[in-house]
């Protein structure tokens, strides 16, 4: 049986607000950013209008290294919507961002053998352009780990 490497999930339309648009704009520049409260330094994800710790609305958009840790993942192997067949298998994953105090991004692990993914392993951001021109972060296993497998 041919090994199936994880693909990109089906494209969706991205909704945004004044608080989330900077994240997607940075993604178009292939920069992974996270909002940090100017007043108290707390990171949050996804972006919201207030810092949940101190209620400040001032944000620093911090550019991150793009390195992440796999916090959890699933492998979607069944197409449940029309047109999804070509995207199977894909791997939704919760990615912890160590240089944003460990806040998590819901994303995907792409180009990976699902059997070799482990919680806690290091991944690096890659960029995927959707048909409408929006760009979304995905993650790939780091080279060192690929060698190990």
């Amino acid at each position: 049986m041919t090994q199936q490497f994880s693909k990109n999930p089906p494209p969706v339309e991205i909704g945004s607000s004044q608080w989330t648009r900077p994240f997607w704009d940075a993604a178009r520049q292939q920069k992974l950013v996270a909002p940090r409260c100017v007043a108290c330094g707390t990171f949050r994800m996804p972006p919201t209008p207030f810092c949940p710790r101190c209620r400040s609305q001032e944000i620093d958009w911090v550019t991150l290294s793009g390195r992440g840790l796999v916090y959890s993942y699933t492998v979607v192997v069944k197409a449940i919507l029309p047109g999804m067949e070509d995207c199977i298998p894909y791997m939704p994953a919760v990615i912890e961002l160590p240089d944003a105090s460990g806040v998590r991004l819901i994303s995907n692990i792409v180009d990976a053998d699902p059997a070799h993914i482990r919680i806690g392993q290091t991944v690096q951001v890659v960029w995927h352009t959707l048909p409408d021109g929006e760009v979304v972060p995905r993650f790939k296993c780091c080279a060192a780990q690929e060698d190990m497998t």
Binding site: P9, S72, V76, K78, I80, R104, S107, I119
Partner: protein, 393 residues
């Protein structure tokens, strides 16, 4: 000396009614409203009340159109109409709403009704139907289109933290199926073996087909009135011992957020509601005789057993594997009606019905001497909810 609480034993469920349970789409040409009306008529009859006695509605998950129900059923006057916010998490909580309305004097006799008809929107593809929003961009872009995808992430984390296995998820599916096999109203009545479970292809790793609830149509209604009035009616009163809803912001939007800290991430989000519920009831897990746990996914049964203190955090896998949730020989029989996994998925309301039947002593898979039943409403975004019903005060 028992601590008192204003909700405890002041109200009771006096009537329960249900439509047949249908596989998804098989309830047509009836409409969802018609199914709700049939369940209400059956509940009123079961209670020995007249339709004119109904003066309130409590529901959840968007609820029903109250004036339409009144018009269809000939209910002359309504004094209360309320819905628990959120989705399936409010099923048990709707009974709490009804109890609070009766205790406060806003209404005398309140119907709680819930159910589903999935001919238009399959819940298994729910998120894909959402219009684009700033919030859902952060999970829809990853292809998380269904609760099944999302809860798989929690299950996988639970396996990582505690060593929980697929065989242990399988025991939940198999023990629930065993209960359904003996129940004439359950939709899935063929026994399931661990070999069949393990051989079933994964849908969203680590969940396979048997870890998912069914897709069903139907409605269930229960009637809540004062304990005093209940004692004059024809059924054995089933007392509302405690009812709680809400949850911690650490759980919050949960599946749509995925920033819950450990160990909350790999939980059912019910921990604070469980604590509140037991305090209200002045009971502990060991006092519960039968647990009707919202089983949209087998893994979430394991996490609720932990949140409700039937076992320690992280011990849910070995706990179920020991046979603890089996109807025969288990220390806490779970989902004796066959649950969402094998009886029917009506958004938690079959669990309320089963609790009433257990405490009346009239359940198909009767737990001998059952005095207290725990019922939970869906682990999902807040609020989640729970209920303890009692045969005795």
């Amino acid at each position: 000396m028992s601590r008192s609480h204003p909700i405890r034993n002041k109200t009771a469920i006096v009537g329960v009614g249900a439509t047949p349970y249908y596989k998804r789409g098989r309830s047509e040409p009836q409409t969802l409203d018609e199914l709700a009306e049939k369940a209400i008529i059956a509940a009123v009859e079961d209670a020995g009340l007249k339709m004119a006695d109904i003066d309130g509605f409590a529901s959840f998950g968007g609820g029903f159109d109250t004036p339409l129900l009144c018009e269809a059923l000939g209910i002359p006057e309504i004094r209360y109409s309320a819905i628990v916010t959120g989705t399936g998490g409010g099923s048990a909580g709707s009974v709490g709403l009804a109890a609070s309305a009766v205790i406060s004097g806003m209404a005398n006799t309140v119907v709680c009704v819930g159910g589903l008809q999935q001919n238009v929107q399959r819940y298994g593809t729910l998120m894909a139907a959402y219009p684009a929003s700033p919030e859902n961009a952060f999970f829809m872009t990853s292809g998380l289109f269904t609760p099944g995808h999302m809860f798989a992430l929690l299950a996988r984390r639970h396996m990582h933290l505690y060593g929980t296995t697929r065989e242990q998820f399988g025991e939940v599916a198999i023990s629930t199926r065993e209960n359904a096999v003996r129940h004439p109203e359950a939709l899935m009545r063929t026994p399931l073996t661990i070999d069949e479970y393990m051989a079933s292809p994964l849908i969203a790793d680590p969940h396979c087909l048997y870890d998912f609830c069914l897709e069903s149509d139907g409605c269930v209604a229960v009637i809540v009135t004062s304990a005093e009035r209940a004692r004059d009616l024809q059924q054995l009163p089933v007392y509302v011992r405690a009812a709680a809803q809400g949850g911690a912001s650490e759980w919050g939007r949960a599946l749509y957020w995925m920033n819950m800290p450990d160990p909350v991430f790999a939980s059912s989000g019910h921990e604070t509601v469980a604590r509140q519920l037991y305090e209200m009831a002045d009971l502990k897990a060991k006092d519960i005789d039968v647990a009707l746990l919202f089983d949209h996914f087998s893994s979430q049964v394991i996490m609720q057993l932990e949140d409700y203190g039937f076992c320690g955090r992280g011990e849910g896998g070995p706990f179920v594997q020991s046979g603890a949730i089996r109807w025969q020989g288990g220390s806490i029989p779970v989902n004796t009606h066959g649950g969402h996994l094998s009886s029917a998925y009506l958004w938690g309301m079959t669990h309320v019905r089963e609790a009433v039947e257990q405490l009346r002593g009239a359940a198909v898979n009767q737990v001998a001497g059952a005095n207290f039943a725990l019922i939970t409403g869906g682990p999902s975004s807040l609020p989640v909810s729970a209920l303890i019903l009692g045969r005795t005060i």
